[in-house]
Each structure stands twice: as C-alpha cells, then as structure tokens.
C-alpha cells in the first residue's frame, strides 16, 4: 500500500545551519533514500525549494488567478515528500521516523488514495 510522507520544518532552522551541517543533512537524506530503495520501499520523492519560491494557482469563473506563495501562515513549511510503499501504517510510520528532518520538523503520513476506475 502507498503512503505519502510530507516533510515539514521551520525553514529558519535550515537557514541557521552552517554549510557543513546542511551538507551533512543532505548526505544523510541521500543515504536514507538509498536504503529505502534497496528495501523496495521508495517509490519516488522530492525535496522542495524554500517556500518563498512558491506560486499558487487558482481557477475561479474560468479565470486563472496567480498569487505569491501559499495563503496560510503556518509555523512549519512543506519541505519535500516521499512516496513510500509499505505493508501497513505501522511500517509507514517506522519508515517515516527515519527521515532525517523528523528530528527537528515533522512528517505527516497519509495513505494515498486511488482514483476510481475510468468510466
């Protein structure tokens, strides 16, 4: 079964890291993905650029509305996601707990929804 692990953290924590700390964190994430892949648990995933690079698109009355960033001011920002293949929620939670930013941010684990069959 597929689960999405959404990685959130306060970007200020990252901004305050030294070059070395940031480098080590990235290397740790790479090693983590390698391990997940070798276990057959990693479907896909992607880290994201900081939130100030985000643009939001809405369509209202057929009109495309484009605005700066996401609306909600939240304490933690979405920083990336993993699509995991796990047997059940317990395994998904276990895998998520090994995602390095879990130590200073939070990982939201959600079961993926399948679309109904095409008509």
């Amino acid at each position: 079964m597929k689960y999405v692990a959404l990685v959130y953290y306060q970007e200020s924590i990252i901004n305050n890291m030294t070059e070395q700390e940031w480098h080590d964190l990235n290397q740790e994430c790479i090693a983590g993905v390698e391990k997940l892949t070798s276990q057959g648990k990693f479907v896909t995933g992607q880290p994201l650029q900081p939130i100030d690079t985000a643009t939001t698109v809405r369509v209202r009355d057929d009109e495309v509305l484009i605005s700066d960033g996401p609306f909600a001011e939240t304490k933690e920002q979405l920083a990336g996601f993993y699509l995991l293949d796990a047997n059940d929620l317990n395994e998904a939670l276990q895998l998520a707990s090994r995602i390095p930013p879990a130590r200073f941010g939070s990982i939201e684990v959600r079961p993926a929804r399948e679309l109904p069959p095409k008509d």
Binding site: N87, L89, N90, E91, P111
Partner: protein
C-alpha cells in the same frame, strides 16, 4: 444448568475473544460483530439438540466466519464484480482458532493506536474490547450518543483506510505502544473515578471496566508496567466507598474512614504490586502503585510514611518531570517536614502557566497555609482554587474549608 444459561455464560466469557478473531479473519469491525451475533444465534438453535461442542469458542468462530463470508459474497454478487482475486482471498476453509488470545491483544493495540485521537481510542476500546453498546459508551463518557457514534465510525474508517494493522507491535516498538494502551486504560479508570458523583443513572462502572481491562492485559501481556497499572487501579479503587460521605460529598484521604477501605482489593493490589516490583521497580505506574500502597498500609492518616511517599514522588518526577508530580512531591515534603518546606517547593512551581490555573495547586497551597497558621493566606488561596473548578463536590469541599477557616 440449562443449555440456555450455559450459552449465556459462554457469551459473557468468550464473545469478546470470538469477535476479536473474527475481526482478524474478516477484516471488518462491523461485519465481525454481526457475524458473532449470528453465530451465537445459531448456537442457541443448534446446541440444545446437538449438545455443546468441546471447544465452544472454536465452533463460534467457524460459524461466524462462514456467516461473514456469506455476507461478503452476497455484497459482491450484488455489486456484480466478484473477481477471482477476491474469490481466492475468501477461500479459507479452516480458520485458525488457536491464537484467540493473541487476537484480543491485537485488537487492544489497534483500538489504542496512537494515530487515533485519544477520545476515539477511549470510545473504541470501550465499544470493542469492553463490549459496551454505543449508548453505554456515550453515557459513561458523558457524551451525546451521536457524538460517540460518529467518533467510532470515523476511527473505524481510519483503521481501514490508513491500513492500521491488526498486530501486536514488534519488540522494539512495544514499550512505547504499550504506554499508549496503558494510558487509555488509566483514562477510562479516571473518567469513572471523577464522574461517579451522584450519577446513579450510569450503571456502567468505568472504573470496573478499566480494572477488567487491566486484568485482561495482565493475563495476555505479562509486563511489569501492566502489573503496576493493575495494582494502582485496585489500590485506588479500594477507597471508593470512603471517598464520599452519605451525602455524596468529597472526603479527603486524610479524613477518610479507613475501615471502609476494601481490604480484599488492597491485598490483591499489593500482590500485583509485588510482581510489578520484580520486573519494573522504577517505572511510572509501578511507582504510582507504590505510592498508593504506602497510603493503603497506613492504619491512620498520622501513620502515613510521608518520607517514603516523598522519595517515590521524587523518583517519579525523574521519570516524568511534570508540574503535577512536583506538586504532589511538595505536599509529601510538607507532611514529612513542615508546611513551610512544602510551600517553598510550591512557590518554585508558580512560574508554570498550566499549574496557575490548576485548582489543586491553589488548594494545596491553601491547605499548607492553614496548617502553618496563616489563615489569611489560606483564605486567598482557597478562594482562588474555588474559581478554578466547575465540579460541584470539589466546589462544596472548598467552600466548607473556607467556612471552617472563619470559625477558627
């Protein structure tokens, strides 16, 4: 004994286990319950003629399993999408019935899964493990039945859609997950303990249900903290007849008539505590049970070994540094040494925001002021406490204390 009354007894002792196994086999809470009921209905019909089978639980599981699969087949035929895969999955001629106790334990861990809201964990545990009806759960938890029903439905949906597994956690995760189960049992107990006042309409004793749950856990999972929790519940519950006077008014530990304490329950609690102490002497529930045991062993309030209680709270605080435990520690120190020593420790807690709005903090300060002879200080603190509790018996207790100060 007639067959009918023997079936009644079997229902009381086995229905939860049968249902737990059916949930594993059928993978659906509601279908399992329906199938379990149908299996008992079949037993009522067939056993008077055929006799009671050697292993009634196994018979009930097999019958319930068959009924459940019939239901699934009918649903699928109705939807007209019976696939070969589903057909294969359904082909389980002989359900495994030799792991019935494991199934019950699995069900407990599923109902108390930390990914469910704590209110949902409580409701689901009472519904599925204690076999209360939704109406009983609602009235015991002082909720509207519709609220409870909704919580239970949502929790079951989350279990299904997030695929919360039906399993006892692996050894590595067990201690943490067990904490979550023990917390649910303790909350159920406290819910019954604190809402018992004058509420005679609720004939479900949540404290009793919590003790049954703890006993069941002690049987299924012999862990020191399980024994510790069971000991704690038995020792606290042993005082239930002394906690209220004839008018339903709160009686503090100090003023309780100790001849009303249930000595048999105390003995049972002490026995479980001994077993807990062998395994987990310094774990939180075992420490709390040790504190309750120290009170239980004191023939009068004056005989209380406050030095020991202060030490135990100190140890508990090291494991769980919460201001409430620090508060209890301060009171124990006051009783061991002087009220002034206790007040000094309480003053150190004043910075905690949560503790400032906790009525027991101010009630404790008031009590220590009173004991030290500072009646004005006591009055102010009792009045502060009075503004912070909504519960009738607690308010009346504090008012009585205030009146007593005026008379002094």
């Amino acid at each position: 004994m007639t067959i009918a009354s023997r079936i009644d007894t079997i229902y009381q002792t086995e229905s939860r286990r049968v249902q737990a196994t059916l949930i594993r086999l059928l993978g659906d809470f509601d279908l399992a319950e329906e199938s379990m009921q149908e299996a008992f209905a079949a037993a009522v019909k067939q056993w008077p003629g055929q006799g009671i089978p050697d292993n009634p639980a196994a018979w009930l599981i097999k019958t319930g399993h068959r009924r459940g699969i019939d239901h699934i087949r009918r649903r699928q035929t109705a939807r007209d999408n019976l696939s070969h895969v589903a057909e294969n999955e359904l082909y389980t001629p002989e359900p495994n019935t030799d792991q019935i106790d494991d199934d019950l334990l699995r069900l407990i861990f599923t109902c108390c899964h930390p990914s469910l809201a704590i209110e949902a964990q409580l409701a689901l545990t009472l519904r599925e493990i204690c076999s209360l009806t939704t109406e009983q759960v609602a009235s015991a938890l002082l909720q509207k039945p519709t609220t409870t029903a909704q919580r239970i439905v949502r929790a079951k949906r989350k279990i299904r859609e997030a695929n919360i597994p039906y399993e006892v956690p692996e050894r590595k995760e067990l201690p943490q997950r067990l904490q979550s189960v023990l917390k649910v049992v303790y909350l159920i107990f406290n819910e019954g303990y604190s809402s018992s006042e004058g509420n005679t309409i609720v004939n479900i004793s949540l404290a009793g249900e919590a003790i049954r749950l703890a006993r069941l856990l002690a049987e299924l999972l012999p862990d020191g903290e399980v024994f510790g929790l069971l000991a704690l519940l038995l020792l606290q519950d042993s005082r239930r007849h002394a906690r209220q006077d004839a008018n339903g008014e709160l009686v503090t530990l100090e003023d309780q008539n100790r001849s009303l304490w249930d000595q048999e329950q105390i003995r049972s609690g002490l026995t479980w505590l001994d077993r807990a102490l062998e395994l987990t002497p310094a774990a939180p529930y075992t420490l709390q049970a040790s504190i309750a045991a120290t009170h239980a062993k004191a023939a009068t309030a004056l005989d209380t070994d406050w030095a020991r209680i202060a030490r135990l709270y100190q140890a508990l605080y090291q494991r769980q540094p919460s201001p409430v435990i620090a508060l209890n520690h301060a009171v124990a120190v006051a009783m061991r040494d002087t009220p002034e020593e206790g007040l000094k420790l309480l003053d150190q807690l004043a910075g905690h925001k949560a503790i400032q709005s906790y009525y027991l903090y101010h009630a404790a300060r008031a009590d220590l002021f009173r004991r030290s002879g500072d009646l004005a200080g006591a009055r102010t603190a009792y009045q502060r406490a009075l503004t912070l509790t909504q519960q009738g018996p607690e308010q009346r207790y504090l008012s009585r204390r205030l009146t007593a100060l005026d008379g002094a």
